[in-house]
Amino acid sequence: MSADQEERIRQWRAAITRDPAVVGADADELESHLRDQIAELEGAGLRQDEAFIIAVRRLGEIDRITAEYAREHGDRLWKQLAIPAADRGDRRGSLARMIVFAAVAAVLIQVARLAAVATADGMPGAPTASWFPRDLGLFVLPVLIAYFAFRRAMSTRRCLALAGAVAGLAIAANVLPFVAGGSTELLVAIHLPVALWFVVGAAYLGGDIGPSDRRMDFIRFSGEWGIYVALIAMGGGVLLGLTVAVLAPIAPAAIEPVMTWVLPSGAAAAVIVAAWLVEAKKSIVENLAPVLTAVFTPLFAVMLTGSAIVYAIAGVGGDFDRELLTVFDVLLLVVLGLVVYGISARDARHGPVAMDVVRLVAVVAAIALDLLVLATMVDRVGELGFTANRFVALVLNLILLVNLAGTAWLTARLLAGRAMPVRIERWQTGYLAVFAVWVAVVLVVVPPVFGFE
């Protein structure tokens, strides 16, 4: 083949790989196709340049091919896909929109805070009304929901459904007669933001919550959002810490107002800013999240295996912390997070890789460890008493255990070459429904059952 022809093919290849959805191996495959086609056309008597033009035409317009790849390989550029193509051009418009919504969140939280101070019931050590900490999520996350509803240009009917969900949660959290400072109120305070986050998910997906790969997009979004929030919180912490250090010698009285005005507003705005960053600055964290999971999954595997061995040998002590189960819930949640994040960053077309083995070890060790604790807990439940806290911790523990057991089973089958990675994804995305139902139960069913104590 002549140098000219090689150059033409090289340029065509460069054009097709300009889109992030087409990776090197795809280009190899397409190029191989192109060369087969050219060879056949030349065999039929066409000149080299003619053969090239026809072969390229047959493959289709580059834009359409890359769009088709993008549809199949959403994981390679999922955030670009999440933004409607028309939006990609107007970065500045999207920035202005984000600032407006962030400002709304920042103002709303202050309005709520002032209202809470005004209605404070004078409990010692509580400068605000008891509803304020419980409802904190209600002043921030609905702004994020509205932001996505607006961004996705959702239909009025779907917007109303979102508003209905938020209103329902707000009512559920506020009409029940909680005993002040009781544990059911604390449980609601913890679970309300989680329930709202599911509504955020519905808005993020533009209402299409059914398809498994769309749900996976939301899981990725959640993880990266969390990373951005943590980064912003660290930067904000440094900023506020220095502000205090600078003000302390000359204007100590100014510190408290700065804290009460800047901290809540900044945190509320960060929720929106982080969501915007995930979509706008995709390539920064995209490389960070898989690296973080790759670093921490093996470390957790070692830690969990070691702990499981120690627990198995030493036995769960007689005087262990009564709320140990809560600690283990957090542990299982972290393991689940690592697993889900690892899976979401994984190329679903590849067969088993070494990291799957590490993941399996971590999950199995976590299950073993948790079963040891759980057995002791159940054994002594009569002695310890069944409070709302313990009940919720126990059920969440079982829910997580079932999830991890399913994950372990599917990972083992994957390693045995008997299941596709996509099965694990579907298991996790399907399980979101279980979590959503459980959160609703904690909000609505648990408080009355335990007498709002």
Binding site: S32, D36, E72, R349, M420, V422
Partner: protein, 115 residues
């Protein structure tokens, strides 16, 4: 005759699976086979085949492996899996039903599909 785009899209999966059920193959050859079977009437942009193959691979219906062509170029070969065969059988049932239904209306023998 130009076959409707949606119909081509609906046929694509069973067509690819059925071709691979006859033996493993690669993209260019699969398209050649489609052209040959349809007498050139079923045209789709060649580039669209690959995302479809990748999707079937991700869902476990087919398996891919890099090999070499006769000229020593890297080439990706696809092979149907057991899950793919099951899927093909199911798709075939559906197409036979569709064919029979329309055939009944138009007074045709439901032919060709069972061959």
């Amino acid at each position: 005759m130009n076959i409707d785009k949606d119909l081509v899209a609906a046929m694509a999966t069973p067509l690819v699976l059925a071709i691979l059920a006859d033996g493993s193959s690669y993209g260019y050859a699969i398209l050649g086979r489609v052209r040959e079977l349809s007498g050139g009437e079923l045209e789709w942009s060649d580039g669209m085949l690959y995302p479809l193959l990748h999707r079937l691979e991700r869902l476990g219906s087919i398996r891919a492996e890099w090999g070499l062509s006769a000229e020593g170029r890297r080439r990706k070969y696809y092979e149907i899996t057991d899950a793919g065969r099951a899927q093909l059988a199911e798709q075939r049932r559906q197409w036979e039903t569709a064919n029979r239904t329309l055939g009944g209306l138009w007074g045709l023998e439901a032919s060709g599909v069972g061959a």
